[in-house]
C-alpha cells in the first residue's frame, strides 16, 4: 500500500520550462504588437475607477554584453492601492496583472501604467513582482520592484534585508516626476556588475 502511493506521487514531476523564444508577440501581447487577436493583459493595468496614485513603470532590459534585449516580455503582479490582490480578473475590477514586451517602444522599454500598490502586510514595503521571459532564458526569472520614495518601509522590508548593500539598489525603482506623470525607472540587468537580484521562493 505504502509503495503504491509513493509510486503514484513520484509520477507527477514538473513539466520542464522552455524559452519563450523570439516570436511570442502575437500570442502573448497581440494588440501591443498590432496583431488581430484580443489581448489577455497589457501594459495598461490602471482603469479610471481605480483608487490609488497613478504611476508609470518604465525600464530597459540589458544582456551581459550591455545590449538592450529587444524581444523580452515582462509580467507584473501587484496589489491595488489598498494592498489587496485581485481574486479573479474580469472586465470590472482592478486586475493587478500587467504584461508588456520590449519590442514596440523605440527605446525598447517596457512600460506599465498602474497604481502604486499599498502595503500587503505589516512587514513588507510596497512592491511589484516582475517576471521576465526572453529568448535565451530557458526558465523565466523573478524579481521585485520597490519604490525609491518608500525609504522607511524599504529599510524594514524582510526581503530587502536579505540582500547585501551593494546589490540592494538593483531592486529600487527611482521616482522621476515630469509634467504629466509620476514615473518609476527600473532597468533590469541580466548579468554583470549591475546584475539585478533575481529571486526564487
Amino acid at each position: 500500500m505504502v509503495l503504491r502511493l509513493r509510486i503514484k506521487m513520484s509520477s507527477f514531476k514538473p513539466t520542464p520550462s522552455q524559452t519563450v523564444g523570439p516570436f511570442f508577440s502575437y500570442g502573448l501581447a497581440p494588440e501591443q504588437y498590432g496583431y488581430d487577436f484580443r489581448e489577455l493583459a497589457s501594459g495598461n493595468v490602471i482603469r479610471v475607477s481605480d483608487a490609488g496614485e497613478a504611476i508609470t513603470i518604465v525600464g530597459r532590459i540589458f544582456n551581459g554584453a550591455g545590449d538592450l534585449m529587444k524581444n523580452a516580455i515582462v509580467e507584473s503582479w501587484q496589489a491595488d492601492g489598498d494592498g489587496k490582490y485581485s481574486r479573479t480578473i474580469c472586465e470590472e475590477t482592478f486586475s493587478g496583472f500587467g504584461r508588456f514586451g520590449t519590442g514596440t517602444d523605440e527605446g525598447n522599454r517596457y512600460i506599465i501604467r498602474t497604481v502604486k500598490p499599498g502595503k500587503v502586510d505589516e512587514q513588507q514595503a510596497p512592491h511589484i513582482a516582475l517576471t521576465i521571459f526572453s529568448r535565451g532564458l530557458m526558465h523565466h526569472v523573478y524579481t521585485r520592484l520597490y519604490f525609491s520614495d518608500e525609504v522607511d518601509s524599504n529599510d524594514q522590508d524582510p526581503l530587502l534585508k536579505l540582500i547585501l548593500a551593494n546589490r540592494r539598489d538593483t531592486l529600487i525603482a527611482q521616482r522621476v516626476q515630469n509634467d504629466q506623470d509620476t514615473i518609476y525607472e527600473f532597468d533590469i540587468h541580466m548579468q554583470g556588475e549591475k546584475e539585478t537580484v533575481f529571486l526564487e521562493f
Partner: protein, 232 residues
C-alpha cells in the same frame, strides 16, 4: 513550512546552457536569492471565463480571412495537474506556434517559407473542472534557425500556463513523439534526459476525431503545494 514546494531543479535546464547560444549572454550568471513565500507569491492572476471569445481554442477558425488554413488538422488535449496529481481547474492556458510551413506570423520571423493568410497561430482556453484543456490546430512545421550549422527546430507548440499563483507560472514547448529532430535540438535537450520526455505529446486514438483530425495527448504538471494528500 513553505506553502509551495521549491523549484525542482532536476526538472529544468540550467540557466546557462552553452549549446543554446543565446543563453550564455542572456541568462543570469549569479544564483537567485531564495526568499520567503509571501502573499505576493501565493497569489497570481486568475481569469474569468468572460475574457475568452468564440474560437479562442480553435486555431483552424480564429485566423480565417478567406478560407480554411492549410495543413494537417490536430486535436491537442490533456490535463493541467500539480505535483500531487491534483487537477487544476479554471486555469489559463495560452499557446502559439508556426504554421504548417514552419513560418510564424511574427513580423520578426525571416524564414522564407510562406505565411498562411488564414492562420494566426495563437489561442487560449481555461481548463475545465477536471483540469482538461483542448485545442484544435494545424500541425506546425519544422523550421531552420541560426544557433549552429544546419540547425532546425523540431515541430513544437509554445504553451503558457498560469496555475494558482506566480510561482506555478510555466512557459514551455510541446513536442511530438517520434520527431527525429528532437535528438539535435539544444532547446529540447536543455532539461535533464528524464525530464525532457515530459514535453513530448503522444498520439492518442481516443482523442482522434473520426474523419476530422488526429489527436495528441499532453499533460502539463505545474509546481505544487507542500505536503501530501496521500497517507503513508
Amino acid at each position: 513550512m513553505k506553502p509551495y514546494k521549491s523549484k525542482d531543479e532536476d526538472s529544468h535546464s540550467p540557466n546557462q546552457y552553452p549549446p543554446y547560444n543565446s543563453s550564455v549572454i542572456r541568462a543570469p550568471s549569479k544564483e537567485p536569492l531564495i526568499v520567503p513565500q509571501t502573499i505576493t507569491e501565493t497569489t497570481g492572476p486568475q481569469f474569468d471565463a468572460s475574457v475568452l471569445r468564440e474560437f479562442d481554442n480553435d486555431l483552424t477558425k480564429n485566423g480565417i480571412k478567406t478560407g480554411d488554413p492549410i495543413g494537417e488538422r490536430l486535436i491537442v488535449s490533456g490535463r493541467v495537474l500539480d505535483e500531487d496529481g491534483t487537477p487544476l481547474s479554471n486555469t489559463m492556458v495560452e499557446l502559439w506556434q508556426a504554421n504548417s510551413t514552419g513560418r510564424y506570423i511574427d513580423s520578426q520571423d525571416q524564414h522564407g517559407a510562406p505565411l498562411d493568410p488564414n492562420f494566426l497561430g495563437a489561442g487560449r482556453t481555461l481548463t475545465d473542472k477536471d483540469g482538461w484543456y483542448k485545442f484544435t490546430t494545424i500541425r506546425p512545421g519544422a523550421y531552420p534557425w541560426g544557433n549552429h550549422p544546419n540547425a532546425w527546430r523540431p515541430q513544437h507548440i509554445h504553451f503558457s500556463v498560469f496555475g494558482p499563483n506566480i510561482m506555478t507560472r510555466l512557459v514551455t514547448q510541446m513536442y511530438f513523439e517520434g520527431d527525429p529532430l528532437l535528438a539535435h535540438d539544444p532547446i529540447y535537450k536543455g532539461p535533464p534526459d528524464e525530464a525532457r520526455k515530459r514535453m513530448v505529446a503522444k498520439f492518442s486514438l481516443d482523442l482522434t476525431e473520426e474523419g476530422f483530425a488526429l489527436g495528441y495527448r499532453w499533460d502539463i504538471i505545474l509546481r505544487g503545494p507542500n505536503g501530501t494528500p496521500f497517507e503513508d
